[in-house]
Structure formats: structure tokens, C-alpha cells
């Protein structure tokens, strides 16, 4: 349950990895969807310890906290840890165009 690719260590809790998550990755092949809609694939940076969320792959931007018991994606309002969301893989990073934002030293190759 650790992120495959991360931006950095969490500046808030200090111990988590701020990994990249992607919501609705299955919709990446649907060409009719506008890339700005909430239903289209979109990325989040989430700390795997304290659940802090950034909407940009930059930890200097504003962060937010989800609901303690029922964390939801602030973009699509889907379950943050639900079936429509996962830790982003390389392809997902390319889709999001966030592949240059990660720190490769923090990659975890094994799930």
C-alpha cells in the first residue's frame, strides 16, 4: 500500500511518502471526455501516512485533509482509496504529465 512514485517526504508529518495517485485511470482511453472534467483521469499527491492531499505535484502549494473515516478525492468526490483510484504507475505519470515531478530515489518497485 505504498506509493510507487513519490514527490518527496511529507513536510507535514515527516514520515510519509507523498505519492502520486490517479483517479479514474480507466477513463484514460475515452476520447470524448474533456480533460478538465472531474470524471477524467486526474492526479493527486497524497501522503501515505497522514493522508494530506495536494492537487499539484508541488508540495509548496496548498494542501488539504480529507475526511478522517471516509476520505474522498477533492476533485471527483470519489473514494480516495476506492476502486476508482490507485497509486500511479509510470504510464499514469505520463498521462498526467507529472513524470518529471517525482523523485526517482523514492520509487518503490514492489507493491
Amino acid at each position: 500500500m505504498s506509493p510507487q512514485h513519490s514527490i518527496d517526504f511529507c513536510p507535514l508529518c515527516g514520515g510519509g511518502l507523498c505519492g502520486v495517485r490517479i483517479c479514474n485511470p480507466q477513463l484514460a482511453t475515452v476520447s470524448e471526455l474533456d480533460s478538465d472534467t472531474a470524471a477524467s483521469p486526474h492526479g493527486l499527491v497524497v501522503c501515505d501516512e497522514c493522508d494530506a492531499i495536494w492537487l499539484e505535484p508541488d508540495l509548496n502549494t496548498a494542501h488539504q485533509y480529507p475526511d478522517v473515516a471516509n476520505a474522498k478525492c477533492p476533485v471527483c468526490n470519489g473514494g480516495l482509496w476506492g476502486s476508482n483510484s490507485r497509486w500511479a504507475n509510470r504510464d499514469d505519470l505520463a498521462l498526467l504529465q507529472w513524470d518529471m515531478a517525482i523523485n526517482p530515489e523514492l520509487d518503490i518497485t514492489e507493491g
Partner: protein, 290 residues
């Protein structure tokens, strides 16, 4: 010699009388109320009653007993009451208090379900005593009659709901620690306890540091409670507040785990003495050694 012998005999008689009186059931003690007076008067004139004629001494005895009856009823009653408070009255009182014992426990259970002070009940449950008195001094005698079934039921309930020997389930899938921390659903693992379980085992391949608690889940939960209590007292604690989140870093001053992960492994897993605790109110978000 005779006088010494007489004194010894008299003293022995007095001791026997007093011992017999104290060993008597309270009902008999009530009946023998003049007894102590007789004993006391006999103490005053132990041999005179026997050896020096009876009329004068009987008059003296009557006078003494009269005085004792009039002057010492409260004393006798008090002396009777004190032992009866321990014995029969004590039993009655204990029976009266028995419901309050478990009721207190129950109410404390209920209240602690709400407020979070769980130590006594947790201690009782963790000790798996059949009676509540064993974990508490005064109610030790309250282990009879009504106490035991209620107490057993209470302990049964406590043991049934205790998770990891510490956490009491307060609602569906929410658990309360002795220090008042709440573990509920959440995190990528689905439940904060499952998330916490990550920190009872090393992840050597995880980048950076990965704190691991000593003592498994129970050790982790106890350590977290300890850290939280110290944080509440601001003992060797740093505190950061970010919106509705509070982050404590507590130095416990002793080993509570070790640092794992890739960084920890490179440094031969140094011991960890601090706990980082991330809370939202009393809800645990995460906690780990560092």
C-alpha cells in the same frame, strides 16, 4: 509469687474474655453488651470479685454495670458497630454497595465509552479477574452474591470487546484506548489499526525511515497511549497544529522501537525513543516511532 500468679491469671482471663468477645457474632455481641462492662470491671478487680467476698463487689459491679450501661452505651454500640460494619453491617453495606461497584464500573464503562477514561476497566479486564474487587481495594469483599454474576458479565463483556487487550469497541469498528484515543476506519488500509500495523514490522525497502514499534500491536498501542498522555501534560513534547490536525512529537526517554526502512537499515536500525503522533481531535491518524 501469689500476687504475680494472680496477676498473670487475671490477665489471662481478661485476654480470653476479650478474644472471645471479638470472635463472637455481632448478634451475640449485642446480647453480651454488659459483657465488656463485666470484663472491664473484672479487669479492675479481677481477683476481688472472686476472693474478697461478693456483696461489696457485687454492689460495685452493679454500680459499674449501671454506669457502663448508662455511660457506655454509645461506646458499646460504637464498639459493636465498628465490628458489625465490617461484618454484618459491612455485608449489608457491601451488598448495598455491590451494585454500586459494578454499577460504578458499568457506569464508568458507559461514561468511558463516551469520555474515554478506560484505565480501571481496562485494567480489570486485562487482568481477567472474576471479581472487580481484586483490582480495587475496597470492593475486595464485595465478591459475593449479586456482585459476581454482574461482575463476571461485565468482565465478559469487557474481554469480548477488548482488542489487542487494550481497545474497547465503542461503536461499529471504532475502538477506544485507555488514554482516550480513538481508532476507526480510514487510511489506505481501511482502518487506522491496520495502518498502524505497518509500524510493528520493518519495511526494509521503503525509502527513507520507517519507524517500528516494539512489542507488536499491543506494545504500539501502549506506547502511543503513553506518548499521548505525556503530550497532554506537555512532557518533552513538541506540538504542531495544522487546521484540525495536531501533530505531537513526544520523547519517551527510553527505547520504544527502532528506525527501519532503507535509511534505518543503512544505520543498523538505531533505536527510536520518540513517537510522532498525528491526531484529529482524539482520532488517531497515524503514529510511528522516530
Amino acid at each position: 509469687m501469689n500476687k504475680s500468679k494472680q496477676k498473670l491469671i487475671g490477665f489471662g482471663i481478661l485476654v480470653l474474655i476479650l478474644a472471645g468477645y471479638t470472635l463472637l457474632p455481632p448478634e451475640l455481641q449485642l446480647l453480651i453488651q454488659p459483657g465488656p462492662e463485666v470484663a472491664s470491671s473484672s479487669q479492675n478487680n479481677p481477683e476481688g470479685q472472686r476472693l474478697n467476698g461478693r456483696e461489696g463487689n457485687s454492689q460495685q459491679l452493679e454500680a459499674d454495670s449501671h454506669q457502663s450501661r448508662s455511660a457506655k452505651p454509645t461506646q458499646s454500640e460504637s464498639t459493636v458497630r465498628n465490628p458489625t460494619n465490617v461484618n454484618t453491617d459491612g455485608l449489608a453495606e457491601s451488598r448495598k454497595s455491590e451494585p454500586s461497584g459494578p454499577a460504578t464500573l458499568a457506569s464508568s464503562d458507559d461514561s468511558t465509552q463516551q469520555t474515554g477514561t478506560r484505565r480501571a476497566t481496562q485494567t480489570t479486564a486485562s487482568e481477567n479477574h472474576s471479581t472487580s474487587g481484586k483490582s480495587r481495594g475496597p470492593p475486595a469483599t464485595n465478591s459475593e452474591g449479586k456482585q459476581r454474576p454482574d461482575d463476571n458479565q461485565l468482565n465478559r463483556n469487557q474481554t469480548e470487546t477488548l482488542l489487542h487487550g487494550l481497545l474497547h469497541e465503542i461503536s461499529n469498528d471504532q475502538y477506544l484506548s485507555p488514554a482516550g484515543l480513538i481508532y476507526g476506519p480510514g487510511s489506505a488500509e481501511g482502518h487506522r489499526l491496520d495502518h498502524l500495523q505497518r509500524h510493528v514490522k520493518d519495511q526494509p525497502k521503503r525509502p527513507g525511515k520507517h519507524g517500528v514499534f516494539d512489542g507488536g500491536m499491543q506494545g504500539a498501542l501502549k506506547t502511543i497511549d503513553d506518548a499521548y498522555q505525556r503530550a497532554q501534560k506537555q512532557q518533552r513534547t513538541t506540538k504542531t497544529v495544522d487546521r484540525n490536525r495536531t501533530i505531537y512529537t513526544v520523547d519517551l526517554g527510553k527505547r520504544i522501537g527502532f528506525v527501519g526502512g532503507q535509511d534505518g537499515g543503512r544505520r543498523r536500525n538505531p533505536m527510536a525513543r520518540r513517537v510522532r503522533l498525528v491526531l484529529e481531535g482524539k482520532r488517531v491518524i497515524t503514529a510511528y516511532p522516530m
